[in-house]
Structures are given as structure tokens and as C-alpha cells.
Amino acid sequence: MVTALAATNHVAMADLKGKVEPDWCPGCGDFGVLAAVQKALVELQIPNHNVVTISGIGCSSNFPGFINTYGIHTLHGRALAVATGVKLANHDLTVLVTGGDGDGFGIGGNHFVHNMRRNVDLLYIVMDNQIYGLTTGQTSPTSRLGMKTKSMPFGNIEAPVNPISLALAAGATFVARGFSAEQKHLTDLIKQGIQHKGFSFLDVFSPCVTYNHDNTYQWFRPRVKKLEDDSGYDPADWMAAMGKSLLWGDEIPIGKFFERTDVPTLHGAEPVLDAGPLAHADMPIPGDVTRAFIEELR
């Protein structure tokens, strides 16, 4: 949800600069994602105090510290659970969730699936580098078959998860994939994801220059093909999106796979929130209501 902008406050890039500089490795894909998020918030003119950026644990989950919004740096895998609580307590806030593939698809897999089916209104950006970086290079849920890492030195024998197919199957109402080296395209996807009313899932190829020597910028560049360049592609067609999600090889689609706007958001489906965000609600319950609660017991 996009919060209405006070006419006098112009949001500039400088407003969104975090208290500290990012400490990612030089060349890390996450720099591109951070810049694209900041650009998207400026282009949408969303004041930083109405944004909450929520992450789990991992290199990419250090994100909230590098952007000047409200932020929560939660536990490993738990960002979506915390974010759902934030959104339900105050649905006027724009909620961004940022994290990595291990955080989201591994330890946080249960929350990933269930919050998509709930259609919680937030944008979930996964900086997917197909490796565990902060723990210095182990196999992740998206590491390719055969990939050699410190935890699987003889090669990965487990098939990777397909985040796009999984999101489609779980009922996400906005599913997209970006590439951190495609700034303009990525910024546009982030803007669309923020504006979408419901669960927006954005998987971003964000290469790890230190630990993943398979899925590098050079590896991705010739392979990524924008769905937006295919005039015949209809992101309203779920079956077509599922088909595209299975493409992996010489051609890897990026862009908006799927969007539907006819599903109510979780907060929109709950009449308790009709009177406005709970964070601003009166605490005492009216006396006639509480008297009725007690009368039931007699």
C-alpha cells in the first residue's frame, strides 16, 4: 500500500541514506538492489517514516541498516512473520521485506509459503545469490545440482527449489524476478511490487562475488531475457507464468511473471481493521460489550 504524501515533503535520495555505509563485499549484487529500492521510494515519493524495512539474517539481511526508513533486523528466517505482524497492527505502513535465499527458502520456508497464501500486503525482495555468504560459502536451497561448496565439497546432490514456481503455487498475487545489474528494470519491478495490493514476491539475481563462482554477472548477462520484451506474454495468465518459471538454461526469464488484483489482502479481508489501524485504536473496550462478555458466563 502506498501512503498518501504530504504535499510539502519531497522525498530525495539523501533522505534514504542509512546511518552507515553498506559493508557488503565490493561488487556484491546487493548494492544494486539497495540503490533500486531507494530509487523506487523516491519515484513513488513515499516518506521514509511510513516505510518499515524488515529483514532476517545474512549478508543481504543487513539491508535495513543501510537505508533510512523504520527497520527491523529480525531473526534468521523470521522476517516475513514479523512483517505480517507489523502490517496487521498498522496497515497504513509500507512494508518491505528483504533477505537472502537461505533465509527465505531454507530456514524461513514455512513462513514464505504461508504468508503468500495469506496475501499479506507487502513486497518481499529476495537477494538470491545461490549460496550462503555470511557463513562463508555453503550450499543454499537455490544452489544448482553439482555445485561444489564447503558444505558439499563433492557437489550438491539435492535439487534446488524453484522460487518462482513455488510462489505461483503458493498463491502469491505478484511474482517477479529481477537482476541486480539491470537497475532500471529492477527499480520498475520494485515500484510495481510496492504498488501491488497483496503479497509481491521479487526474486533478484544478486551475485555473490566472493563465494559463488558459478552464477556470476558474466554467467547471467547473456542468459537473462526480459518478459516485458515479449509482446505476446500476458502476466495475468497463471499457466503461462508457471510455464515460464520452468525455463532455466540458455534463456532465463526476468520481469513480471504474474499479477492478479482480484484477491483481497489479509488486512482487507478482516473487518476488525475497518475502523483503521489497530496501532491507533482506543484501548478500552466499550462497557456494554464487556458486560455482555461477562453475562455469557453466568
Binding site: 497492527a89 498498522n90 489497530l278 461477562i294
Partner: protein, 596 residues
């Protein structure tokens, strides 16, 4: 000894033990009587054996008691298991078509009901229950009208025909008993009071509503699920967002998210779910976001005995989440206290921005008690502490103009801004951070800052201790015996003290409600003056005894423990005290005589 009357109804799950129980409870409470109900049951939906005890009387009834005055076995198994509990003056009402009585003790009245002669059992499958209800009330000296009203209310939703059929059957039972059975010597009295009857789970849920909880979430787990059920059923009237979540890890983190956004937020579970929440408690402590978690203990370890009571989670609560952090831990003393404790602990966690745990157990969660409606105060004091909810309220405005969420203060409490307020953006982190919320691992793991932040958070411990009252001794200070308990054993220990005193052994009671902070010095002041001290608790290893010793070095004269899944009965404690006073043992483990 106070006058009480207890009914035991036994049968298979699905045979309709609950309905007569509910009707008895309603009739007693409307006569202005107190009551306590406890249902011993198993983790199956149909079959097995359940045994419901309802004890009533004009004075407060704090536990299930020692005696069954009226037994209603709904099948042969219930007859075989429980007839031996009855002593002189008691009676047993049973369906003589299907159940053969065993040998009863002298003075026990066996009351056979020829069910197929009295009712058309092809039409009404639970005719035996309704006949027994009618017969029982006749023998108790309760007018039929009360039962007529009770049945009408119970079957209202099923239509007029069902109501009148049941009233008809009940009347036959009532009249049959009047003609054929001897009434009880103590007719059930009536007073002008009118109590509310509720379970501990309902009480805690209502206490949450009273405290201003706006977000409640849970994963179903016995015996805590009743909290979810009340919350879900009343959410829209009370303005509470209630969610069922995929697992307890999601539960605690979602609750923390809601709390961080500014609402009072609560969740409940049992030991297994609490284990999953453990890391989340540390998050609440580190982010300094207040959240209240209820743990309804059941018999462990692991899946354990899911429908049985125990006080076996204490050390899990004390050790939950790694690292040192401030927390509040309270064990409600009875079902009325289950209500009162929730607004209290919310004020503590809001003021000190830390997690709070309510340590309940199955006995209170699923037991039912008559409570004076005055206890259910929906306008308690609400203190949200140093919470910044709009830009103009006293903020953490600092010299440099940047809000310090984790400002170092003398109290350890830093003013907390909720998201959405201009000028207060910050990140709350599970990583150690500085006053601004910046991760210290993002610059260098600064030992000076780390120490300062640890000390800031831990300074809140002293504040919490000052905000929570120390325990007090109940009964004569110079008594022969001091019984020490915590949480739900309050009622049964109280009655044990009364019985001991009547038998010439004066007894007093120290019941611990706040476990963290414990107020060890105040406890020592009391116990150092005691004659013979015994710690009574519902677990194997003496978890509270070990905790008290670790905090105060206090060692009692003896221990009374029970870990068979069933609660203490007063005579268990009385006999254990006598056994220990005679020097036979220092550890008594009473056997539970009721076969459930």
C-alpha cells in the same frame, strides 16, 4: 470443615459427559453457589475414559476436594473404576439396563435407573444422562424448575421439540428418584450471590481483552487452545486481530511484529510450542519490544501426556533463549487470577520493554471456577511506559537531532517510538547495536559499547523487581508447618492447611506468584522464621525447590511432589505432611487413587 458436595461423572469421550456437567455447573452457580470443575480426559475424540468432577458449596471452592458424594457412571468401566471412591453417605446413580454395580462400601446408596422402562431409548441416545440429571437434582433437594431452565438453555439451538423431549425425560428421572431413592442429608443450599463460571483459558483471554490486547495469534496446542477459541469468537466485538499461524515460531515473531508497530500483543502455547518460541523471546528482549507469551503447562517431556497437568516447564521458562536478558515470569494462582495477571504483566513489559511469560497449567487452563464478576475488571490501570506515538510527544530528541531508540538511561528504559512517526526512523535489531540502533558488528564489535548496552538492558531488572510486590505469608506466622507452593497449587494447599489445622497441626502457606523477579530476600525473611517447611509441586525433580535454592540457598525440611498427570487432592498433602513430621521420609509422592 466447610460444606461441599461433589459429583463425579465418568464415561467414554463422546458419551455426553460434558452436557450434564455444564447443566450442573449452571444450576449451582445460579443458586449462588461456588464451584470448581476438573475434567480428567485423554487425547482422543471418541472413546477412552473421562471423569468430570464438579464440587460445589456456599463458600469458595478452590480445588476438586477429596470426596465424591454422587457418582454417575455412564458405562460399566466408569462404575468399575470409581465405585470404590464412595464412602458412607454417598450415592451412585446408574443405568441398571447396561451397568452392573460392584460392591459398594457400607452406607453407600446404590440407585439403579431402569432406563428402558423410563424412556424411549430408541429415540433418545442420551436418555440415561438426562434421567440421571433429573434423579440427581431430586436427591440433592433442588427444585425441578432449575433443571427445566437449564435444559431449555442447553438445547435451545436444537429446537422446541428437543427441549421438551429432554425436559420430559428429566422429569421422569426426577420423579422416579423422589419415589425410590433416599435424598442426601445435606440439601444443596441457595445464596443471593451470582457468580460467573469460567476456565483459566477464558479468563486469560478476557484478561488480555481488558489489558487492551489488539493482536493475538496462536497455533493450536492443548491445553492452551481455549485462549485462541475465546479470542477468535470475540475478536470482532473486542476489536482484536486474531490469527492462527503456521507454527509457534511464526506465532511469536508475528506477535513481536505487531507489538513493534505499537499494539499490545499476546500469544499462548504449551511446552512444545514454547520451545519453538524460545529464540523469539530473545528477539523481544534484544529489540526491547514487549510481548506476552502464555505457557499452559502439560505433562512432558516431548508430546508427553497432552491432556494432563504438570508444573514441569519452570526451568524451560528460566532458561528460554540464550544470553542474559530481563524478563518477567508470573504463575497465576487460580482462575480468577488468570484474568488479573494479564493486565498486570502487560504494564510491566510495556514499562520495561521486555518479554513477559505467564506460566499457567492445564489444571487452571481447562478447569472451571466460579468467580465473582467484580474480579473481571475490564477497566484496569493501563501503563504503556515510555512510548512515543506521535511526533509531538516527548521524544528522544537529542543534541544531534537524531533519535536514539536505545538511549543509555539510568533506568535502562529508552523511549520507544513506533513506526510511522516523522523524525524517529531507526532500525531495531536482533544483533547487538549502539544507542542509535546501528549494529556494532557493522563497524567493529566494540567491547565498550557492547558492555554499555548489556548493562543498560540489565538495569531494567532492578526496575522490574521494584515494580512487583514480594510474596506474603498466609496464616499464623508461628504455625507448626509452612507449605510452600507456586501457581496453581494455591487452592489445594490452602485446603490442606485448613484440614491440618483442624487436626491439630497448625499450618500456614507461602504461595509464589511472581517467579521472576523472585524477591529472594523477602522469601528468606519469611522462611527463616518457619518451623517445618515443605515445598509442594506438580513435577518430578522439584523444579521450584531447585530454583529457590539456587537463588537463596534455602533448603526446606521436605518435599511433596506429584508427576502422574493428575492434580493434588488435599488429603495427599495432609498425609504427606504427617508422614514427614513423623520422620519417615523427606520426599513424599502421593499416589492418585482415581483411575483416569
Amino acid at each position: 470443615m466447610k460444606q461441599t458436595f461433589a459429583i463425579g461423572i465418568g464415561g467414554a469421550a463422546g458419551q455426553g459427559v460434558a452436557t450434564p456437567g455444564d447443566i450442573f455447573a449452571k444450576i449451582f452457580s445460579r443458586r449462588g453457589l461456588h464451584l470448581n470443575a476438573y475434567n480428567a480426559y485423554q487425547s482422543i475424540i471418541r472413546g477412552g475414559h473421562t471423569f468430570l468432577t464438579i464440587r460445589t458449596g456456599p463458600e469458595k471452592i478452590t480445588n476438586m476436594g477429596d470426596r465424591v458424594d454422587l457418582l454417575i457412571p455412564l458405562n460399566q468401566g466408569a462404575m468399575d473404576r470409581h465405585l470404590r471412591l464412595l464412602t458412607a453417605g454417598a450415592a451412585c446413580l446408574y443405568n441398571s439396563d447396561t451397568i452392573k454395580p460392584g460392591v459398594a462400601a457400607e452406607g453407600v446408596q446404590l440407585c439403579p435407573l431402569p432406563v428402558s422402562k423410563l424412556a424411549d431409548i430408541t429415540r433418545n441416545k442420551v436418555a440415561q444422562n438426562t434421567l440421571a440429571l433429573g434423579a440427581a437434582l431430586s436427591m440433592m433437594g433442588v427444585g425441578f424448575q432449575a433443571l427445566e431452565e437449564g435444559l431449555a438453555e442447553q438445547f435451545k439451538k436444537k429446537g422446541e421439540a428437543v427441549v421438551s423431549e429432554n425436559i420430559g425425560i428429566a422429569r421422569v428421572g426426577y420423579e422416579y428418584a423422589t419415589a425410590n431413592f433416599r435424598p442426601f442429608t445435606w440439601p444443596i443450599p441457595m445464596t443471593g450471590n451470582r457468580y460467573a463460571v469460567l476456565s483459566g483459558n477464558t479468563a486469560m483471554a478476557m484478561g488480555g481483552a481488558a489489558a487492551g490486547v489488539k493482536f493475538y495469534c496462536a497455533y493450536p496446542m492443548s491445553p492452551s487452545t481455549g485462549v485462541l477459541h475465546w479470542m477468535a469468537a470475540h475478536a470482532r466485538k473486542a476489536g482484536i486481530m486474531v490469527r492462527q499461524v503456521e507454527d509457534e515460531i511464526g506465532v511469536v515473531n508475528m506477535a513481536i511484529g505487531a507489538a513493534h508497530a505499537g499494539v499490545r500483543s499476546m500469544c499462548a502455547t504449551s511446552g512444545g510450542g514454547f520451545a519453538l518460541m524460545s529464540e523469539g523471546l530473545g528477539l523481544s528482549a534484544m529489540m526491547e519490544t514487549p510481548v506476552v507469551v502464555i505457557d499452559c503447562q502439560r505433562a512432558g517431556p516431548s508430546t508427553g501426556v497432552p491432556t494432563k497437568t504438570e508444573q514441569g516447564d519452570l526451568w524451560q521458562m528460566l532458561g528460554a533463549a540464550f544470553g542474559d536478558y530481563p524478563r518477567a515470569l508470573v504463575a497465576p494462582l487460580d482462575i480468577g487470577d488468570c484474568f488479573k495477571v494479564i493486565p498486570e504483566i502487560f504494564n510491566i513489559v510495556d514499562r520495561f520493554q521486555c518479554p513477559g511469560i505467564v506460566l499457567c497449567d492445564l489444571l487452571l487452563s481447562e478447569g472451571r471456577l466460579s468467580v465473582d464478576p467484580q474480579v473481571l475488571d475490564f477497566a484496569p490501570v493501563i501503563d504503556r511506559g515510555e512510548l512515543i506515538t506521535n511526533a509531538s510527544s516527548a521524544s528522544g530528541a537529542n543534541g544531534d537531532g537524531i533519535y536514539k531508540r536505545y538511549k543509555i538511561t539510568e533506568s535502562g528504559v529508552s523511549p520507544r517510538a513506533i513506526p510511522g512517526i516523522p523524525g524517529h526512523t531507526h532500525t531495531a535489531a536482533s544483533d547487538e547495536h549502539d544507542e542509535y540502533g546501528v549494529l556494532i558488528s557493522d563497524e567493529f564489535t566494540n567491547p565498550t559499547k557492547r558492555r554499555a548496552m548489556m548493562e543498560k538492558r540489565m538495569r531494567k531488572v532492578a526496575g522490574i523487581e521494584a515494580a512487583v510486590p514480594p510474596p506474603v505469608l498466609w496464616g499464623p506466622r508461628d504455625a507448626d508447618v509452612t507449605l510452600i507452593g507456586w501457581g496453581s497449587t494455591k487452592g489445594v494447599i490452602e485446603e490442606a492447611c485448613e484440614i491440618l489445622t483442624e487436626q491439630g497441626i497448625s499450618a500456614n502457606q507461602l504461595q509464589i506468584r511472581w517467579l521472576v523477579p523472585l524477591h529472594g530476600e523477602a522469601i528468606l525473611d519469611i522462611l527463616n522464621h518457619a518451623q517445618h517447611t515443605f515445598i509442594v509441586e506438580n513435577n518430578y525433580s522439584g523444579q521450584f525447590a531447585r530454583y529457590l535454592r539456587s537463588e537463596t540457598s534455602f533448603v526446606p525440611d521436605g518435599y511433596i511432589r506429584k508427576y502422574d498427570g493428575e492434580p493434588f487432592m488435599p488429603h495427599h498433602i495432609v498425609e504427606a505432611v504427617k508422614e514427614q513430621l513423623s520422620g519417615k521420609t523427606k520426599l513424599s509422592v502421593p499416589a492418585h487413587e482415581i483411575l483416569v
